[in-house]
Symmetry: C2
Subunit: 373 residues, 2 copies
């Protein structure tokens, strides 16, 4: 194998694929990029067994030459060192060449690196089949769906099923749900064709895919145990998480006692200020509502107390008080992505709903905390 | 005590004083700012016992009113919470007021914080005397001296004396020396009057002082056990480090076998590239010199090898090879702050000198590493 390649293009491809390669891997082969020089393209593969990314670099793109002077072949190269070398070189072209079965030479006009390498045959067989139910999203839609749901998923590996985002298609509506049992974010997304499937996609995968997107269209292909995302020259394969996702529809209250409409930015700033005095593990803030005022407050025995009045609110109902984890409410308001936000309450100890006045596609639920005195 | 104060001015003062307050302190009182409202100024003090910073905020400065509506008095307030609150508020004025001996109220037009506080009398007595040998530096000179020496000091608390920068005045020349026993940086600085003193100033102190400077003049006052830096409205007090500083003059070779003049930037970039393959604990690079070429190279049994030819060099002498810790040499070249740098060698196993072609005030010495094959 041999090729001379545009350094910046190669770096982009390696950076994308590197996402799938963990800092530590149980398998030495998986610490490598697999580079395969084929007839008209270089294929770069990286994997941590759970997620695999494959990206192709064509010989030329839009009349721009990317790869020249090449010989077919394949090799494994240490991902960490190859990406560092390609990043640090400052020439526009680099040449990569297998010297013998165990050494790859990387050089530009000034520098020469000889990296110990492994044979391509030592790479594990990966399931790179792409078949199943396919749905297309614009990059913009996909990024918005992820931004509005992923934060609510659990990060605790002890409950694997809720570290996933549940994606459930029923005819032309796809529901994306994420919960850590203390809050729920549920986004409805309408598509143009009909589907019927349910899959629990690792939140990590879906977030990484969303970060890669920059315009254009991403295709999601769901099969029994696997999801595949296809975006431009890159394909991301990920296992699904097995098990039954909690019935989140039951978390959503159907009738409410009172409703607060409030300016998102002012509300967030006030909560951030009064929560300065509370520690991270117990960031509890109290919200006191009457028709005349909306007040957030907090109290810590050791440090002191804080309170702030918020302007720009509408509340009609009996005087009402509720306490909650301030981070959950701030996350929910940010996810609503709207100037004002609506909080709908059932009672002081019941789950409450956070929605946007002009977007019914997103419903968020937060658990309150029992009020201190 | 009571005052209404310009929030941004107070934040600047608190941020400066906060540098002296550690994240953890053995004494609860030292976790606080001491605030003293005097006749015409607010005095803010912070200390970790080793370094104390005192900064004053005048009632007005250049016709701009800073403090109004005040009553004399003093209190201690949790440094961490006060600075966070003042940072997060968004109004231009804040009012700070002692409510009773244990509570301080901080408020603007929207928010109100009540912080548990301690009485000013609970603050330890600090030695705030300012007397001794005084030397003045322009901020620019002082920052340059620190940038050229501080990096070479040891960070190992097991040898306290070499965690200091040794400052030695002999008539109108002051020598600043820093060493970690593997390298030395020695800067001569000429002053206008005569002095005779020697002091070992904690590198941490001198670096923090340098970071505070932004134009103007800083005054350094050395006494037996203490150094004081006076800069605008801020005074920094620091203990000195006891013990005898190593005789660093003996480290500097007097005659050399061969000399390399090389472009600083090209040399650093080449070393950074070839050292990509070496691990942090053994960042050893080999420099091979002949009249025709200058080559840096490295080799790691497990990972591979790298080499690069450097253009823009002048060398006359016998072929010569030396190996060194690449970080020490890069640090030394950066400290030289010049387009080209001169490396002067005695032999493959002897200390070598790094200097700038047009600045004799800075001498740097680096220990080589025994060459691998």
């Amino acid at each position: 194998m041999k090729l001379t390649v545009d350094r910046v293009e190669l770096l982009k491809t390696l950076t994308t694929v590197y996402i799938a390669i963990g800092a530590k891997s149980p398998s030495p082969a998986l610490m490598n990029f697999k580079l395969e020089m084929e007839n008209d393209r270089l294929v770069v593969t990286g994997s941590n067994n759970e997620m695999t990314i494959q990206s192709v670099l064509p010989i030329s793109r839009e009349n721009k030459n990317i790869i020249s002077d090449y010989e077919l072949g394949a090799t494994l190269i240490s991902a960490k060192y190859l990406i560092e070398i390609i990043r640090k070189l400052d020439s526009s072209l680099v040449t990569i060449e297998i010297i013998d079965q165990t050494i790859v030479k990387i050089r530009d006009d000034k520098s020469e690196f000889k990296l110990n390498s492994m044979r391509a045959e030592e790479y594990p067989d990966l399931d790179l089949d792409i078949s199943g139910e396919a749905v297309e999203f614009s990059a913009e839609d996909f990024k918005r769906i992820v931004a509005q749901t992923a934060f609510a998923a659990s990060t605790k590996e002890s409950s694997p099923i809720i570290t996933a985002i549940n994606v459930k298609a029923d005819n032309d509506v796809i529901d994306f749900s994420a919960t850590d049992r203390f809050r729920l974010s549920k986004k409805k997304f309408k598509v143009s064709d009909n589907h019927q499937f349910e899959a629990n996609i690792p939140t990590k995968t879906i977030v990484e895919v969303s970060k890669l997107l920059d315009g254009g269209v991403v295709r999601m292909v769901i099969s029994d145990k696997k999801v595949v995302f296809i975006y431009a020259e890159t394909t991301i394969f990920s296992r699904l998480i097995g098990g039954e996702f909690p019935n989140t529809t039951r978390m959503i209250p159907l009738s409410f006692m009172c409703t607060l409409k409030i300016n998102s930015e002012k509300f967030i700033e006030a909560m951030q200020r009064v929560s300065l005095l509370v520690t991270e593990t117990e960031s509890i803030v109290k919200l006191t509502l009457t028709e005349e005022e909306a007040v957030v407050s907090s109290r810590s025995e050791q440090i002191g107390s804080a309170e702030e009045r918020i302007e720009l609110f509408e509340y009609s109902g009996s005087p009402f008080t509720i306490s909650f984890n301030v981070n959950y409410v701030i996350d929910a308001i940010k996810a609503a992505m709207s100037e004002d936000v609506i909080l709908s309450f059932v009672g002081e100890t019941s789950l409450f709903k956070v929605t946007s006045p002009n977007d019914e596609s997103l419903v968020q639920i937060v658990t309150p905390v029992r009020t201190y005195n």
